[in-house]
Amino acid sequence: MKRMLSFFVRRLGAALFTLVTMITLTFVLFWLIPSEPASFVYPTAQHLTDYQLEHAHHLLGTDRPLVEQYGEYLWHLLRFDFGSQWGGAQLFENSKLTEVAIGPQLASAVPATLSIILGGALLVVLLAVPLGAISGRRIGSIGDRAIVLIALIGICTHPMVVGLILRTIFGNQLHWVAPGGYCQLTPDANAPCSGPVDWASHLVLPWITFALLFLALYTRMIRASVADTMHADYIRTARAKGAGETRVMTRHVLPNAGLRVLTMVGMEIGTAIGVCIYIEAAFGISGLGSMAVTALFGTVALDLPLILAVVVVITAIVVIGNLAVDLLSALIDPRAGDALRDKETKSLAGGVI
């Protein structure tokens, strides 16, 4: 128990360290990259006068020393408030600036992205476990080859293409499900659509798109693990004791694959968010991915506070997710700890995004 506790503390420390490093790094990097915040305040001006520049910088607070701005930003974050973005700032009577807060946007974007990822991940598990088990039991059989090939096809078609094809067929042509958009899970009388049914019907296609991409990887991993364990002594023992084929599979072989899958999941959280950029674009969902894209490709100039907020949220999700995965795997197998993490590397499916 004491070892568990120390492991937990160590991991928590590492997570916090990563988070703070990431925030600092992006802050410094993005502040070094030239952007002109004043052009957000005067979006129509062709050429900014010195007075306008100075005035805008003063109103946005970007004329202060960098350290002070950094301190203020951290203080914002500690209160779970992401400050205001530069884009959409409007000047009234030449002295008052109304700014658009980032917090509410994130509050609507994060659930959408998490819905895609969590639902998609569930679908991946539901599909990959049986497929991997079938495939791994008899490596080299026709069934195995077929499964591996289908999984490979899934990886070779880009999620953007898959998403748009699915949307065209099942959304626009057959009208089986909604062709795009997002509805919140909790019922809301004011929204055009809400509630679990609307939520799921809007997300079925994104989930399938997500699953098709990651299926190959997880099927292969479970397949490899199953193939490795099938010949283990304890499997023979279980068989000798009269356990049926299903019981051997579900109780003895598959749990062995669980740990590796879990480790992999921890490393893929970032990738999954990256994939969401394409999935959200294909289905017109305004989530974290599309927010990141708007932030990065702002038409006027780079909206640094918005970029920073998106980066911080993504890092936080990744770090928290990793922490959860670490703790879970430590609970499942106390010996695993750091050793397994060092061995595994982020999958190359990450290469797709």
């Binding site: 078609t157 293409v161 490899a224 010949h231």
Partner: protein, 353 residues
């Protein structure tokens, strides 16, 4: 004659076969791997030599545009169509399209036209293959160039160096790659894109490859580090240290050769992943210049970018526009995947997966 052969065999039996010869022998016996290797060689040949050859036979190049190869709805013609080489579409006073003037020569589009511009799809997929393969190959080299030294540093020296390198690697690994990639490609495209080498390495290829490589170096770094951790305590390392070999010599002469097999297996898979990554970059709308086809840009001319995704309209698209580049990607990825598996099987026949 007989005598010489016998002596030769005796000599060979006396000297144990080197690991490379053994591996090569195992590969030669593995029909699946041989098939994959030939398929890949065929793809490489087609991409580099196929374009010019086909272009010479057909009498037009991949950049020639044939307006008559698309109909009123902008729908390009399908495979094996002869179209007029007229350089503009004639219309009558009412705006209706007239057939090309009598006597204009026609030309054959083997796989149909690529888009409303009416370029030859076959030539584009061949030339696009060259660009895509070049990007993938360069990117593998870049990530090896960055990753291997870092991995050696972390794995061989351990201690503080290891902690720093590992933490940085983990942090970068956890974050969605595509965000960095997109950001960097937008910001740096002006500086990097003009670097090229005539038509052999088109403008932008180097830039995309460099970016992909700079964001994927952590795979080889982790691979090398893990291997180094086990190797540095091996007896042969102790032995060479004892006879006075310098650290640099130990790394170069005794450790690096051990890394080659693992890196080779990785490189084949990474090559495939980089091709897919390039598709992703194309969907962001950055990357290689529009006039140079890549497999990714062929897909994104049909499906749009993440800012303006297009749903499929059967009146103005043909399925060929998607099927052909996807098939090219699929074949390449499958071939490389099997090749990587085959190399690993040949290097470590004892491991089951």
């Amino acid at each position: 004659m007989e005598g010489i052969a016998t002596t030769g065999m005796a000599a060979r039996a006396a000297a144990p076969e080197g690991p490379w010869r053994l591996t090569l022998r195992r590969i030669r016996r593995d029909r699946l791997t041989l098939a994959a290797a030939s398929l890949f060689a065929f793809i490489v040949f087609c991409s580099f030599a196929g374009g010019p050859i086909a272009s010479a036979i057909l009498g037009h190049s991949s950049t020639d545009q044939f307006p008559y190869a698309a109909n009123d709805n902008y729908k390009p013609v399908g495979p094996w169509t002869r179209v007029s080489t007229a350089s503009y579409i004639r219309a009558d006073d009412y705006g209706d399209v007239l057939p090309p003037p009598k006597g204009t020569p026609t030309t054959l589009l083997v796989l149909g036209a690529d888009s409303v511009l009416g370029r030859d799809e076959l030539l584009r997929v061949l030339d696009g293959g060259r660009t895509s393969l070049e990007i993938a190959l360069f990117a593998v080299f870049v990530s090896l160039l960055v990753g291997v030294p870092l991995g050696v540093l972390a794995g061989y020296f351990g201690g503080f160096t290891d902690t720093v390198v590992s933490r940085v690697t983990e942090t970068i690994m956890a974050f969605p790659l595509i965000l960095f990639l997109v950001f960097a490609s937008v910001r740096l495209s002006d500086t990097l894109t003009p670097i090229g080498w005539g038509s052999v390495v088109p403008d932008g290829v180097f830039a995309v490859a460099l970016l992909i490589g700079l964001f994927t170096w952590f795979y080889p770094a982790r691979l090398v580090r893990a291997e180094m951790l086990t190797l540095r305590n091996a007896e042969f390392v102790d032995a060479s240290r004892m006879v006075g070999a310098s650290t640099w010599r130990i790394i170069r002469r005794h450790l690096l050769p051990h890394l080659v097999p693992g890196l080779l297996v990785w490189a084949a898979i990474a090559f495939a992943a980089n091709i897919l990554l390039e598709v992703g970059i194309s969907f962001v709308g950055v990357g290689v210049q529009a006039s140079t086809p890549t497999w990714g840009s062929m897909l994104s001319t049909t499906w749009g970018t993440i800012f303006a995704p297009r749903t499929y309209d059967p009146n103005s698209y043909t399925p060929w526009q998607t099927v052909i580049p996807t098939l090219a990607i699929l074949l390449t990825v499958v071939a490389l995947n099997q090749l990587s598996e085959g190399i690993r099987r040949a290097l470590e026949p004892w491991s089951s997966r």
